[in-house]
């Protein structure tokens, strides 16, 4: 049972192994805080949609299952979007249209169709958490690489005296700017994908 959760972290990591949801992963990984925000949004939507799809799996007629899933997913995305706009407006600005685009994030529809519609509630919840955390971890890795090397900073939430940005001496003066741009996103994702592939083949005893 616990495997339903852990499989999403590395073995079936949505970004690096299943290669789903790359579009938001490339777009919002410019700052660590955006990666965390996007991750939280995706976890919430994934959890909500998996729960409802699993609960309603006998109610939803098979012929209109995809429209039904989309309605459920879109509702949760709208809730996230409204909540972010109201309570974390800066984050909402940074993520922009990508919050609304969670609707078409293949991870969520993919999990609803391939998993939640065939499994029990408990398993679906664990699957959603695992996939969501796996997505967040992937996003966080990309964002860390891009922000640290590309801008020399780590942007988190401002708390008390801490203004929210850690500046890394040596890098902040002359960062590798290209990594902060769209090109850099593809480069970083490519290297991580290669790393995960290498780990996979090594485990199998390959070259």
């Amino acid at each position: 049972m616990i495997k339903e959760f852990t499989k999403g972290l590395i073995k079936e990591n949505p970004i690096f192994i299943i290669v789903l949801g790359l579009c938001p992963a490339l777009a919002v990984s410019t700052q660590v805080v955006n990666a965390l925000g996007m991750g939280a949004g995706v976890i919430f939507v994934l959890l909500g949609s998996n729960i409802f799809v699993s609960l309603l799996k006998n109610f939803i007629p098979p012929r209109v299952r995809i429209p039904s899933y989309i309605v459920i997913i879109a509702s949760f995305v709208t809730v996230v979007d409204l909540l972010m706009k109201a309570y974390t407006p800066t984050l909402s600005d940074n993520l922009g249209v990508f919050v609304q685009l969670i609707v078409v994030n293949c991870i969520i529809l993919g999990r609803a169709e391939a998993y939640a519609s065939k499994n029990t509630l408990g398993r679906s919840v664990l699957d959603a958490l695992g996939m969501g955390v796996g997505f967040t971890l992937g996003l966080l890795l990309i964002a860390l690489a891009r922000e640290v090397l590309g801008a020399g900073t780590i942007t988190l939430f401002p708390m008390g005296n801490f203004n929210g940005t850690i500046r890394i001496p040596g890098l902040v003066e002359s960062p590798a700017r290209v990594l902060a741009l769209a090109t850099g996103a593809l480069l970083v994702v490519g290297y991580f994908k290669a790393l995960f592939n290498w780990m996979e083949t090594r485990k199998k005893g390959g070259a």
Partner: protein, 184 residues
């Protein structure tokens, strides 16, 4: 036929439930979102207007200009205009709030909502960035090309030229608009 009604009915039930739930969430968040928008605008207004009283907004149907607020002194004399501008940046629209003297000279400006690249175009949110535009307009032309800037300023906008041009063109449009307004 019966089948289709049954399937359609079930889908309609799902949609209706979702719509009701969203309506509830919207009822809770809408006032908060309005509050956030109002607070941001007030903060930006306080940053650009150091003296005088900001009057009600007048909307304008014009390219790059959303509207303007006349600024008056204690004798209700107009001492400037705050113009809401939209510049075209690298990541889409950039919302600017610029305070002009009646002759079109830029007094102060802040960059509000934008989707520029962090570390590059986003730097325009810093008050220091806007110093190259301040006191331009009216007498001195607003720099809209990099060769109109000092060497230092040109260096600082390099890598985010589209952001610079977007802001500069919007500021120029605002300045021209104020000069026209004053002539009328």
């Amino acid at each position: 036929m019966k089948d289709i009604i049954k399937i359609g009915g079930k889908l309609a039930i799902i949609c209706a439930t979702a719509a009701i739930a969203l309506g509830l969430v919207n009822a809770i968040t809408e006032p908060v979102i309005e509050e956030v928008k109002k607070r941001r605008l007030e903060e930006a207004l306080a940053r650009v207007v150091k003296e005088g009283q900001v009057e009600e907004i007048r909307t304008v149907e014009r390219d790059q200009i959303e509207g303007y607020y006349p600024v008056t002194d204690s004798e209700a004399e107009i001492i400037g205009y705050v113009v809401k501008l939209i510049g075209l940046g690298y990541g889409g629209d950039m919302h600017l709030l610029a305070n002009y003297a009646p002759d079109g000279t830029l007094k102060d400006v802040v960059l509000m909502e934008n989707k520029e690249t962090p570390g590059l175009g986003k730097k325009a949110e810093n008050p220091q960035y806007m110093e190259m535009f301040i006191k331009a307009g009216g007498g001195r032309e607003i720099p809209t090309r990099k060769d109109m800037l000092s060497r230092e300023d040109a260096d600082s906008v390099t890598g985010a030229t589209i952001t610079f041009m977007g802001i500069a063109n919007a500021l120029k449009a605002g300045s021209d608009f104020i000069m026209e307004l004053e002539r009328e």
